[in-house]
Symmetry: D2
Subunit: 102 residues, 4 copies
């Protein structure tokens, strides 16, 4: 599935729960930043070595926090009408100019 | 492109610049949270009405901040070996149980 | 009590629990950002009107999250050897030049 | 100066610039989280060893970011009518019960 298809699934999920009335972009970025911090929390007291050797799979708590961030990102992109894949590829082009490959 | 394919492109970009030595998960979640805040910054003083009526497209500053978050998310998923699409769909199943549709 | 005196109390609290070994500045800023997000979480779905009319006192959950941020801020200032009051007054002087009073 | 006295100075600064109309608690916590991320940014790519050996004084960029967080914290406490010193001491009492000294 591409990001646009995932975005539609997440919108349907929100619609089925009548949540879109809360999904003002201001609220969505706040909620996304909170989920981000829940991801950060897993790493705050770890050494880099410990951080690099955690055992993480798709169903583990860390992956769930990553998914929570993504769910709000997909909602935000959908509410703003932004094609996320296009935005990512565009930003990579800008970065490639700013930071040329060695 | 699906998330796994995007992830490979972003890994290649990092490899070509010898950046992966900095991409410890602890560093990546910090950097991602900083990009998230740059997204939040666009909305901090806006009313919800103003936030809902911004004109945003794939190349606009807000979409660029979203892309920056996504680039680190894709890098983190890749470093952790997490299939992000699978993680998102799994989290949606958990949410569906926790918050049944009306 | 001034900020320096509060800082000493918080250092003693950490010492009595043998927590200072975790209080590397990198860890402290991560932990502080997580507490900050717990403060943000209280406001994420509220309208500005609702946000302005919450009933908050020194013992309420919102004040506790504010205190959690402050406790890490005081620890960080102490670990860095930064006089927080002096830093605040200095930043106000810089801001006064940048944004002259009307 | 204690936190209440600092808070009054910061309120006067905001009043002189007619900024309090933007200082809804929802906006203030967003703005504070953005300043927090600017503090995190200084540490994101550092090893813990590098982080522990930065040379920081009251006027350095890191102390300025800490001051920016504090300025919004003082504004928030003032807008909410929270005595920040009392909130900190109360939270330390709660923490002392939760995590008894060794």
């Amino acid at each position: 599935m591409n990001l646009a298809e995932l975005s539609i699934k997440v919108r349907q999920f929100a619609d089925e729960r009548d949540w879109r009335k809360y999904h003002n972009p201001k609220n969505l970025v706040m909620a996304m930043s909170v989920e981000m911090a829940e991801l950060v929390e897993h790493y705050q007291w770890l050494t880099p070595e410990q951080a690099a050797h955690l055992d993480v799979d798709e169903h583990s708590p860390i992956a769930q926090e990553m998914a929570d961030v993504m769910l709000y990102m997909l909602r935000l992109a959908d509410e703003l009408g932004v094609d996320m894949e296009e935005a990512i590829l565009h930003k990579m082009q800008l970065n490639a100019k700013k930071y040329p490959a060695k």
